[in-house]
């Protein structure tokens, strides 16, 4: 009997599903080692198939995406009941991800922006004696572990092939990792960055630059060139793909275990090395970071200490 696995997507872009598909030949290894019993994006199982399964009959469910409506919450709950192990797959499930930036507003704000003067979706619509319901759209986006008990986390936007491979082997292996573990190295990305040696020992930044403002040198540490690279605050494991693509790290692997709030720590590190002491100079330098929430809490706003913007 092959172990059963499921994949599901909540508030997501589909990238994590792509990541599984992108495993290429490894996918075949995975496919041959397990029996996939639920995967809406790729296979034609229905919810009632899932409901029919006995509780705990799925070895592991890999759920990606954040939770932002009642349907996602329900599906997460269903999969939790049917699975022995629930893995928050991808940084949206782990910390709330980019959809989490919606926490700077609320449902009313989003609908007003999207639907403007048009028709605003209603939860319940009756017509010809039939009723249609839409899931409840929450004011606040949350991470997966806010609605179900999560056993493991696989970070990334999306998780990289090696991380997925390692996660699957870990779960199929003889000894399971400790519960609640993040299945990636517990050190910052600088550890494995190819440009590590080019970061000066006394780096202080006079001016922050955004990627479109400079032609970044291909060999030198990006932070040293003034780009806001969050590699020093982000978990390693991705093999510094973005840096190899000459783009600064944006923090999609989340924080090390010793940090309580990713954005706060990343902010602290970047601010501390700004080269300015006088009030006016500090203002000037910080003007180079026009969107602190977007920069430091890009993937982690829902699970951060504040969680969401305080609405008036």
């Amino acid at each position: 009997m092959k172990p059963k696995v499921a994949f599901y997507w909540c508030a997501s872009c589909g990238g994590c599903e792509e990541a599984v598909v992108d495993l290429d030949e490894t996918l075949l290894d995975v496919a041959s080692a397990v029996e996939i019993v639920f995967w809406p994006v790729a296979l034609d199982f229905k919810v009632k198939d899932l409901q029919a399964m006995p509780d705990g009959s799925i070895l592991a469910s890999f759920i990606n995406g954040a939770i932002r409506n009642s349907d996602q919450r329900e599906m997460a709950g269903l999969l939790r009941a049917k699975s022995q192990v629930v893995v928050a797959f991808g940084i949206c499930a782990q910390l709330g991800g980019i959809p989490g930036l919606a926490n700077l507003t609320d449902a009313a704000g989003i609908f007003a922006e999207v639907y403007r003067d048009g028709v605003t979706p209603q939860r319940l619509h009756r017509e010809n004696g039939h009723s249609l319901t839409l899931p409840e759209f929450f004011d606040t986006v949350v991470s997966l572990d806010a609605v179900v008990d999560v056993d493991y986390y696989v970070p990334g936007c999306p998780p990289t092939p090696n991380i997925i491979r390692d996660a699957v082997s870990a779960l199929l292996g003889a000894e399971l990792p400790p519960k609640k573990a993040v299945l990636a190295p517990d050190k910052a990305l600088c550890e494995q960055c190819p440009r590590k040696d080019t970061r000066p020992e006394r780096l202080l930044i006079k001016e922050f630059k955004r990627p479109h403002q400079i032609l970044a040198d291909q060999q030198t540490c990006l932070l040293a060139q003034g780009l806001v690279c969050l590699g020093s605050a982000t978990r390693a494991g991705c093999d510094a793909r973005c840096i190899r693509g000459n783009m600064p790290c944006t923090g999609c692997f989340g924080p090390a275990s010793r940090v309580r709030d990713f954005g706060a720590k990343a902010l602290s590190a970047i601010a501390s090395i700004a080269d300015c002491n006088e009030e006016a100079a500090v203002q000037e330098v910080m003007n180079g970071l026009p969107d602190p929430v977007g920069t430091f809490f890009r993937y982690s706003l829902p699970s951060s200490l504040l969680g969401r913007r305080r609405m008036g």
Binding site: C190, K196, R202, A233, P255, A256, R258, K265, A269, I273
Partner: protein, 619 residues
């Protein structure tokens, strides 16, 4: 368990704590009382004596921060509860720690060669310690060397001071560097590394014997340069000695006024006359010296209040308005007038006014009392009367004669016929009588009438102020200043000579205005503090240092430029390493580390999070 006791810091109080630890096997102790700055050490000791590691102790400040500053009892109690709750949560995370021990270098640096510095240096040198005495002027002596007589005994200042100055010079344990300044101070208690800049005198100290013939021989036949020692009342030549009893007895050349420096074409008669010893060297360069000391005593003294800031008293406007220190120079036999108290035109004054509290006890200048002016005003009244027979009028607010034999001196001066007008001098204006006399106007509050007294000369009893560069100097030593700008003491009552920097002490007027007896008392106290450290041999440093978690550090190098003590280095293994001896425990690197890989003893993240949560439990 919880216990209440009125005076926990007392012996029985501490015994209570020790007993409880033993009897009930306690493993964490919290005391909610006064500021940890006062008694953290006391209680830690008590805890240690009971066999428990002292760092399992935490102190909550419910006195200075609560009971003494809030009037709403309910709110204050709630606050105390929040703070104690925070401590209870915090202390769970405390771990056993050992204080760091560092050795104390036995040498001492004394900064400032006035009576305070001289006395401290002699005391320490006599105790067998090696002292560096660094003085900014070319000679020792400070302000005391400018005084004529000292109150209340009317001792000649120079007579009691100069023997001490020569004792310093000849003491084998004292390295005297005059015409020198401290440039930089690095290190910490027991291990200071100080850079001293020795300014060029253009005269070789080891060769000059102080015969002063070079001054005689100078191409300037007349002295033309205003003389700082005599406050500009006298003149000197470009090559000079500040005053006859200067120590060291070595001349100085002033490059601003010396012809050789300005044009390169002087006859250099000074060099000719010094041919045997060849002590003059126009090419002398400044020297930078580096010394290692264990303790430092600051004795940098004061400056006189600038009387031009009170233009209504006419200083700088009317010729015969003088400051008290200027009169000291006139009265002094080695002064610019040979000890004659005369007006600018050479006449003896027949009436002299002395205005107390100039630049003191005044909202518009300095709020504080300068402490010495009443006494020196009495002294000057006596000396001027003795020399000139003039009528003297002291305009005072209060007569502050608190020291030993001071009140008696006041009576004596009053009996000598000096007039006292209890009223702050309000106005000074010309009498218009063609003799240059001034009318001094004040309300005599005892008589209840306005007095207008014509005088020939007005003496302003100017107050004492901190040195104008005190705020730069104190940064060199990493100490603080109090509101008026004097150096800040660790505790105004119980630690007046200690600063907040361990191993750095102070004495004399740099701490606050005071007279010579109090200054000498303080320099003894400061010397004793230094000796206590040196003789103990080691000092214990708080173990609140930071350390990098080896297995966690990714080598991102964020922390490296943030440490002002260069305590963090990047090692071969490509990660950061903190030198525990250099780390001072500020915690900046801990807050900045983006992967949470640096921890700080006594101020762990978890400990602070617990305090926050404890405070806000009922928010």
């Amino acid at each position: 368990m919880a216990r209440e006791y009125k005076y926990l810091c007392s012996d029985p109080g501490q015994e209570l704590i020790r007993q409880d630890i033993r009897d009930r096997n306690l493993d964490r102790i919290i005391v909610a009382a006064c500021s940890p700055h006062l008694h953290e050490r006391t209680f830690r000791q008590a805890v240690a004596q009971a066999g428990l590691n002292p760092y399992y102790f935490h102190m909550v400040n419910v006195r200075e921060h609560d009971a003494w500053v809030h009037t709403d009892k309910t709110a204050a109690t709630e606050k105390a509860m929040d703070l104690v709750r925070a401590a209870v949560r915090r202390v769970k995370w405390h771990v056993a720690l050992e204080p760091r021990q560092v050795p104390i270098h036995p040498d001492v640096l004394v900064v400032g060669g006035g009576i305070a510095g001289i006395d401290a240096a002699l005391t320490l040198a006599n105790a067998g310690k090696h002292v560096y005495l660094v003085e900014r002027e070319p000679t020792l002596g400070g302000h005391m060397a400018q005084f004529d007589k000292t109150f209340p005994t009317l001792d000649c200042a120079a007579c009691i001071l100069t023997p001490k100055m020569t004792a310093v010079k000849s003491h084998r344990n004292i390295t005297l560097w005059t015409w020198s300044e401290v440039r930089q101070v690095e290190g910490y208690v027991g291990n200071f590394s100080v850079t001293v800049r020795r300014k060029p005198r253009y005269v070789l100290e080891d060769l000059c014997v102080g015969c002063l013939e070079c001054i005689q021989a100078c191409v300037y036949k007349q002295a033309k340069v205003p003389d700082a020692f005599n406050l500009g009342l006298g003149k000197r030549k470009p090559i000079y000695i500040p005053f006859p009893q200067a120590v060291p007895q070595v001349v100085v050349i002033d490059p601003e006024t010396c012809i050789e420096f300005k044009s390169g074409k002087c006859k250099k008669t000074c060099v000719e006359v010094c041919a045997e010893r060849n002590a003059i060297d126009f090419h002398q360069k400044e020297e930078i010296r580096n010394i290692q000391v264990g303790t430092i005593i600051l004795a940098t003294g004061f400056e006189v209040f600038d009387a031009t800031k009170v233009p209504y008293y006419g200083y700088g406007l009317y010729p015969n308005v003088y400051t008290a220190l200027e009169i000291e120079r006139l009265v002094n036999a080695s002064g610019p007038t040979g000890g004659e108290v005369v007006l600018r035109d050479g006449r003896k004054p027949a009436a002299v006014g002395i205005a107390h509290c100039v630049g003191s006890r005044d909202e518009h200048t300095n709020r504080y009392c300068s402490r010495v002016c009443c006494m020196y005003s009495l002294k000057l009244a006596h000396l001027i009367k003795e020399k000139t027979g003039a009528e003297i009028y002291n305009f005072y607010i209060d007569m502050r004669a608190a020291g030993k034999a001071f009140e008696e001196f006041y009576s004596r001066v009053a009996e000598e016929g000096v007039f006292f007008i209890r009223g702050k001098l309000a106005d000074v204006y010309p009498a218009g009588d063609g003799d240059g006399r001034l009318i001094l106007q004040a309300e005599d509050t005892l008589l209840g009438m306005v007095r207008k007294i014509p005088v020939d000369m007005l003496v302003l009893s100017t107050g004492l102020e901190p040195r104008s560069d005190a705020s730069e100097v104190r940064r060199l030593f990493n100490i603080g200043c109090s509101r008026e700008g004097f150096f800040l003491e660790r505790h105004p009552k119980l630690a007046p000579v200690n600063t907040f920097a361990d191993g750095i002490f102070m004495a004399g007027c740099c701490q606050s205005p005071k007279d010579i007896p109090d200054t000498v008392a303080q320099s003894g106290a400061a010397a004793a503090q230094a000796l206590a450290l040196i003789d103990a041999g080691v000092v214990e440093l708080e173990p609140n240092t930071a350390h990098v978690l080896e297995d966690a550090c990714s080598g991102c190098k964020t922390c490296l430029p943030l440490c002002p003590y260069q305590a963090i280095s990047f090692v071969e293994e490509k990660r950061a390493l903190i030198n525990e001896v250099l780390c001072k425990g500020c915690g900046t690197c801990v807050a900045a580390c983006p992967s949470g890989s640096i921890r700080q003893n006594l101020f762990e993240d978890e400990e602070i999070f617990e305090e926050i949560e404890g405070i806000l439990t009922y928010a």
